[in-house]
């Protein structure tokens, strides 16, 4: 090597190092493993490649619960990341801790990024917002429960996917049973048959506007309509119309993938996985409703998670976070994420890009989730906000499991859920004191 090339290399290296130093580094903690984690890493590396001012590093922290716990521990030690992914049930914890995060609206406005909440599709607008409708967390991976069905099974039984539970009980279910299938299964009783039962029928789920406008919230889960729904489930289970395979998500989904179960209620984001594993043609339709409860079913809540910008970082780092959020909500990035994972696009613009590209002609099932989230809203469909909600869900799972294994009655189960959930809400209110 000559002196010249060495010197040139040295200068070049110095320049690269200099450029690298000028970059603002931010960290992003998330709870997405496997295929989803890879898609997420792609977003991060695309962002890093798209400009040279900022650099984001995604860090996988385990499950959603573990990610939240790690964030809390880090925050208390003053070592919090810049961006953290928090799931639907943990939203109340992080939004309740005012000062832990910078509201996304404020962050974007402070850094000169245009923000208009009406660009977001109706179902995702207010789920991670405060009582005044200010968006606190940036919806990232949003999904909603929908009904998947095995087309072969429905053809064999000579039925169409049910729009209402009455139709399921009288027509679809018995015909599928006759054809040798377990007609129905689901993967998440609190999410699909509780929270979204309330939003689909526009029923009030909790006092204080579903918990948004106060801490002294009481859960209104012990409603005659949902009790009737669970009575029906127990009856269907006895008749063989409904199969319950435990609280685990995958145990129920795999029965559908194996072709044993004809219709399965899962997440709109289950689409990618089903496409990969199911060996039969399948499609999806919206979450059925009870005609006896409402004739005008409304939109459902979103599930999944949002990204929160943690406080306690300097202005340059916040600017980087804002730039990343702007990148993330751009239609192209959203469409790409939607296409790869099955999570719904969060903005109307991204939805339009997907439609123009012919994505829904190729995969009609991919559009069901977003259609359901874009339905007419009601007074109680924007979301719910309850503290210690992870534990409340655990209580629901426990009691529902006991109902479906005959350990308790629907009436007693719901009374227990109501009592324990209200005790937890009361305790949560005291943690905020």
């Amino acid at each position: 090597m000559t002196f010249k090339t060495t010197a040139a290399l040295g200068v070049a290296f110095g320049l690269v190092a200099g450029a690298a130093q000028a970059q603002t580094e931010i960290e992003w903690w998330h709870g997405m493993g496997g295929q989803l984690g890879e898609s997420l890493n792609e977003i991060a590396s695309d962002f890093n490649a798209s400009q040279d001012q900022y650099r984001i590093t995604p860090v996988f922290k385990g499950t959603y619960e573990e990610t939240l716990t790690a964030t809390i521990a880090a925050f208390r030690a003053g070592e919090q990341p810049h961006v953290v992914q928090v799931f639907d049930a943990g939203a109340a914890t992080v939004i309740g801790a005012e000062g832990a995060t910078i509201p996304v609206e404020e962050l974007l406005a402070d850094n000169g990024v245009n923000f208009d909440i009406n660009e977001y599709i109706p179902g995702v607008r207010y789920f991670y917002a405060d009582a005044d409708g200010t968006m606190i967390g940036m919806p990232f991976n949003s999904s909603t429960p929908i009904l998947y069905y095995n087309e072969e099974a429905l053809d064999a039984a000579g039925v169409t996917p049910p729009a209402t539970w009455e139709e399921f009980a009288e027509v679809t279910g018995p015909a599928l049973l006759e054809a040798g299938y377990v007609p129905l299964a689901q993967s998440h009783l609190p999410w699909i048959f509780t929270e979204n039962f309330f939003s689909r029928h526009n029923l009030q789920f909790a006092s204080n506007d579903n918990g948004y406008s106060g801490l002294d919230t009481e859960i209104l889960v012990n409603h005659p309509a949902i009790r009737a729904h669970f009575e029906a489930l127990v009856e269907w289970q006895e008749q063989g119309l409904f199969g319950w395979y435990g609280t685990g998500w995958a145990d129920n989904q795999s029965r559908f993938e194996d072709g044993e179960v004809a219709m399965w209620l899962g997440s709109s984001a289950s689409f990618g996985g089903l496409l990969e594993r199911a060996e039969f043609p399948f499609s999806a339709t919206m979450l059925p409703y009870w005609e006896a409860v409402t004739t005008e079913p409304t939109q459902t809540f979103i599930g999944g998670a949002a990204l929160f910008a943690m406080s306690g970082h300097d202005a340059a780092e916040n600017e980087a976070t804002a730039a990343f959020f702007a990148f993330l909500s751009s239609p192209e990035v959203q469409y790409d994420w939607h296409r790869k994972t099955g999570y719904v696009p969060i903005t109307q613009a991204a939805y339009d890009v997907a439609a123009e590209d012919g994505h829904y002609e190729r995969f009609p099932a991919a559009e069901v989730g977003i259609q359901q989230l874009s339905l007419e809203g009601g007074e109680f469909t924007r979301g719910y906000r309850m503290g210690f909600y992870v534990q409340i869900r655990d209580v629901m799972n426990r009691e529902y499991g006991r109902i479906l294994t005959g350990d308790t009655s629907v009436e007693d189960g719901f009374a227990t859920i109501e009592a324990e959930a209200n005790e937890l809400l009361d305790r949560f209110a005291q943690t905020q004191g």
């Binding site: 000062g99 395979y245 534990q391 937890l424 305790r427 943690t431």
Partner: protein, 293 residues
Amino acid sequence: MKRTTFRNPWLPILLLSPQLAIIAVFFYWPAGYALQTSFYLQDPFGFGSTFVGAENYTRLTSSANYQDALTFTIVFTLLVTFFSLAIALLLAVKADKVLRGARTYRTLLMWVYAIAPPVAGLMGVMLFDQSRGNLTQLFQALGWDYTLGVNYWDTAVAMIVVSVWKQIPVNFIFFLSGLQAIPRSVHEAAMIDNRSGMSRFWDVTFPLLAPTGFFLLIINITYALFDTFGIIDTLVKGEPGNNPMTLVYRVFVDGFRGGDLGGSSAQSVVLMVLVLILTIVQFRFLERRIHYT
């Protein structure tokens, strides 16, 4: 026994200080903090907190779910301790008599010891899987409609079986070395007195194994109470639902999943007291009846 005396009273303290410092940092400090936290309800992020007195404790006594976890923990601990000790003892006695290829045989029996609890749990998940698990298929062939994660006791069976299986090798190693430490002359003398192998075992071998057994009893109770955590978490796939829970797992679920620091701290304090009582009982009453040689 000779009593060692130090002329300078500070020397023993100095020599003990590294150990005391470690205990203080890793045990007394967190334990003290847990005790303090158990009287508060605290925002997980540390913004707000309310002093609630003993409420975090009193609610446990009225919680049906906590009572259920307590009962299950007792049943679980008794069964796991009994079966892992009994099976290991049986294997050790049999292995002690093997003359040919003894080394290979013993190594194979110790094999499982190297497996980490979550991995053991994962193997359990595979064996007990709802549709593909070998054991599930076996049970179903025998006419038992077994489904992990649906029926409370079906899940409990899987927890107990996997926990016992994981613990047998540890007990086996100790029992085997305990058996080999018994002098041949004792065996020979017993042989003259009694021809029945069974009663020779209960009259001579078993009492001589008692110190090992006592040690293992404590180790196994601690194991069943605390170290089975990984197995339980993997078997219920992080979603407790209507599955059984041990007290330790419940501390984790409430504190780490649920973010209820006060409630979870109170439970861990209760657990600390329980273990303290248990240890005192064991050393007070059981150890007196055991003679160390």
